[in-house]
C-alpha cells in the first residue's frame, strides 16, 4: 500500500504555516501601531 503520511503532514504543516505567518505579521503590525499611538498620545 502506498504511504499517504506525506499528504497528512503537508496539510497540517501548510495550515500551521499560513496561520502562524498571519498571526506573526498581525502581532508585529499591532505593536507598531500601538507604538505610534503612544507616541501621539503621551501618557495615554
Amino acid at each position: 500500500m502506498t504511504d499517504n503520511t506525506g499528504f497528512v503532514v503537508a496539510a497540517y504543516v501548510v495550515t500551521a504555516a499560513l496561520v502562524t505567518l498571519y498571526t506573526w505579521r498581525l502581532t508585529r503590525r499591532l505593536k507598531q501601531a500601538r507604538r505610534t499611538a503612544d507616541h501621539q498620545l503621551p501618557g495615554g
Binding site: M1, V8, Y12, V14, A37
Partner: protein, 214 residues
Amino acid sequence: MALPAVAVGLYLGLVWAPPDAMMGNVQRIMYVHFPSWIATALSYLTGFLCSVLYLVRRRPALDHLAQAGVEVGVLFNTTGLITGSIWGRPTWGVWWTWDPRLTTTAIMLIIFVGYLLVRAFLEDPDARARVGALVAIVGFVTLPIVYFSVRWWRTLHQPQSSPNTVDPEMVVALRTMMVAFALGAAYLISRRYELARLEAAAEQSEVEPGVGTA
C-alpha cells in the same frame, strides 16, 4: 485559549481517533480541513453582519470589525482550499476539479480577496467602508450557495457528514478542532479589529493634525 484546544485536538485527531476504513490515515486531514471551513464561515459571517450594521448605523467600529472578519475569513478560506486539495489528490485522484462545490468555493474566495483589494485601493475612509460593505454583503451570498452546492447539484465532493455518518471518536476529535479553530479565528479577528482601529486613528491624525489625538 485556542492553543491548548489545538494541542488537544491534534492529539485526538492524529493519535487517538481511529483511521478510516476506506481511506486509512489520510482521513485525518479532515480534522484540519473541516474546522478551517467553520472558521471561514464564522469570520465571513462577522464580516457580513458588521457590513449590514455599518450601512445602517455608520459607526467606523463596525467597519473595522467587518474588515477584520473578512481578512481572517480569507486566511481560513485559503487553508480550507489547500487542505482540501491535499486531501483530494490521494483520495479522489486529483488536486482539483471544476465541480460545483469547488468552483463556488473558489468564487467565494475571489470575491473576498476583491474586497481586500478594493479597500486597499480606496483612500477615502467613508468610500472604503461603504463600497467594502456592499462587496462583503454580495460576497456573503456565496456562502449558502457553497454550503448547499453539494445538495443542489452533482458534485465530486461528498454531501455534508453528520454525527450519524461519522464514527463517535472521530466526532469528538472533530468537535475539539472546530472549537479550537473558532477560538483562534475569534482571537485573530479581535487583534485585527484593534489594528484597524489604531490605523484609522493614525490616518485621521495625519489628515487633521491634532484631531485624531483628541
